[in-house]
């Protein structure tokens, strides 16, 4: 029988809150879906529009951005910049025919190990519902261009 669809998520976690939350999830042995691979950035504000598009172009079914809660950013307001960019990105990918649920921004503080589990599991569920991101080669190429 064919293997059930396992969505692939690229997760950009900020170094000071969400990445630490993932560490906490680890030390607390919290179990969650293995579908997300984390790329560490210093601040969610570093997450470039191109990174997200590149991830989709390369075959990600979803992209997750994790930053500090509003007001808690290690760099004061990088997460607000991320939020702005995220809003724009959602519109952009919608125009490119990508369901905007495939892109998600979450505030997860260093104390919220269990939220990492909740968010990733929930996102995997959503993506399973949506199914794989169907993109022809041209479309992917186009994504890359934009990126």
């Amino acid at each position: 029988m064919p293997e059930p669809f396992e969505p692939k998520i690229v997760a950009f976690f900020c170094n000071w809150c969400t990445y630490l939350a993932a560490d906490l999830a680890g030390t607390s042995r919290i179990k969650y879906c293995p579908n997300a691979e984390v790329v560490r950035v210093m601040c969610s504000g570093r997450v470039d529009v191109q990174f997200v598009l590149k991830a989709f172009a390369k075959g990600a079914d979803g992209v997750l951005i994790g930053g500090c809660h509003p007001g808690d950013c290690h760099y004061q307001e990088g997460n607000y910049k991320a939020l702005r960019r995220y809003r724009l990105l959602r519109r952009l990918i919608r125009q490119m025919g990508i369901e905007d649920e495939r892109l998600r921004l979450e505030w997860i503080s260093a104390a919220e190990g269990d939220r990492v589990r909740a968010v990733i599991n929930d996102m995997v569920e959503t993506l399973k519902r949506l199914g794989p991101l169907q993109k022809s080669e041209e479309e992917r190429a186009h994504l890359l261009e934009v990126a």
Binding site: K8, V10, W16, C17, Y19, L20, A22, D23, A25, G26, T27, R29, I30, K31, Y32, P34, E37, V38, V39, R40, V41, M42, C43, G45, R46, V47, D48, V49, Q50, F51, K54, A55, K58, G59, A60, G71, D72, H74, Y75, Q76, E77, G78, K81, R85, S109, A110, A111, E112, R117
Partner: protein, 663 residues
Amino acid sequence: MSERETVRIGVYVCHCGTNIAATVDVKSLAEYAGLLPNVVLSRDYKYMCSDPGQDLIRQDIRDRQLNRIVVASCSPHLHEHTFRTALKVGGLNPFYFHMVNIREQASWVHENRAQATRKAKNLVSAAVQRVAFHQPLERGRVAIQPDVLIVGGGIAGIHAALTLANAGKHVFLVEREATIGGHMARFDKTFPTLDCAACILTPKMSAVRAHPNITLWTYSEVTKVDGYVGNYKVTVLRQPRYVDEDLCSGCLECIEACVYKQAKVPDDFNLGLSKRRPIYIPFPQAVPQVPVVDPETCIQFKSGKCKTTCIAACGDRHAINLRMEPKEERIEVGTVILATGFQTFDAHRVPYYGYGKYPNVYTALEVERLVNASGPTAGEVVLRDGRRPEAVGIVHCVGSRDENTHRWCSRVCCMYSLKLAHLIKEHTGAEIFNFYIDMRTPGKGFEEFYQKLLTERVHFIRGRVAEVTDWALDPTEEGKLVIRVEDTLAGFVRRIPVDMVVLATGLEPRTDAPEVRRLFNISCASEGFFLERHPKLAPVNTFTDGIFLAGCCQGPKDIPDTVAQAGAAAAEALALIDAGYLETEPNTAHVEEEKCCGCKTCISMCPYHAVAFVDEIHKSRVNEVLCKGCGTCVAACPSGAIRQNLFEDDEIFAEIEGVFSNA
């Protein structure tokens, strides 16, 4: 990376004992890595962070001419520094390195071995692709300003301050209350040795006052913190106490002279168990020995029609100045120690124990004052109506180990309950009943103390008290407080009439901990206590360099542990100061001028004003000293002119691609 040099990557997979190896197939992971582009060598090893592990890397760099290293082990927050140092020793630039977290992000969080291994492979391939693009980088250095700010004048702050001052460093000790001493100043005796708290605390307090290297600011709060490790710019707001500390001789005649002949204001140092005058000194051994005027209750402030006999009494010292204004002090320090302490759980939150409803239900802290020789009753343990209690119930775990209030064990309640049991019995000869869930006495001399109490024939009843009530079911219960509890060891429910109930309230984070946390840009753990960098490896550090923790602001602990931690925090600060400088991470941003179109988008991005616009060349430039390396400007630059060391676009692109190796 320069074109000539060929990339030669070494990949090292750590077993971390069985922490990783049990869930991730390290052998096949290493084999897989060995086949990746540019990888000339790939190994797996039991403990990469151990000396032999690091030696492997050094030797291979030498013998196999490796010029890039990837280690797949734990979180970079734990050992990135360790391995970079190993590279350095091995003669390689420490930034030709990338770390893969296959423990916290694979073996510990996934159960399916195949899936965990596949994920680990993707992460390793991402790192291998990324590291190829790494550039040699140099760490910058920031000089460390030798002065230290300590926030909080409890036993933790006091001890840290004295340690640093004795080492010849200048300390600014900022305390919110009118005196230092914190909670400990309220205690009578300390467990398990029963030595008097004042006898060990007050000498330290006066030492603080007297020390030439300590600037003590009581009645003050930190309101603003700028800068970074090595040179923090701090603003302190000093509330007016209306008595000039430099002019006051501490004769306290002004207090006697106050027009209030007897005290009317509830005394908060005694938790309202006694009264004070509008001009007062918190307690006899207060430091500084300088009275405070409380504008809320002082007649002169309210009506302006007071005879101000206090000022008269002060005479030509003119120490009392009712027109004193709040004052702002601006200081520069290199390091900060937070010792802001805790607050006790508010017993009103558990109504079924009757606190605030029945006058003879007390909190443990109130009873500390009652048994205290210098307390409101001069050490007489009497009820509010003056009676001596004949039976006393001490209820453990009030606001601790309870999902409805606080989940954690407050660690000190069992021991201070034992102490209070002993003291109350000593003072009154009353029957004492301890109601506990589990008796927790893990500490030097603690279990012995418990044993002592058992032989003193104090009652120990294992059961969480269900309620404290005035409902009498039996003549012997009339006029008493009845404690209803299941004696879980005897196996039945008991009703025990007592005259006095003591609630062993737990320790919780201060209400303003979140604001303090933001002020100093550190994190809180889920319970709300400040988060240490690592519970075992960096227990007094925070994730913000140069900011350290001491005492209960980091979690409940007793006096010995608090003092030990305060010493540790002082030592960490000293280590920084005496090194004279701190190496900074090189992940700062810089502008490629030829690409910059001068659109100024980046300027608004930077909260540190590190990006400035240079009019002459009509382009932006990054001040790398001010830059904290978040990379927000990089992501925002429309022409891709700004780059961030260690987080270059092509490095991250490579990492993203690597993730899709579809192992």
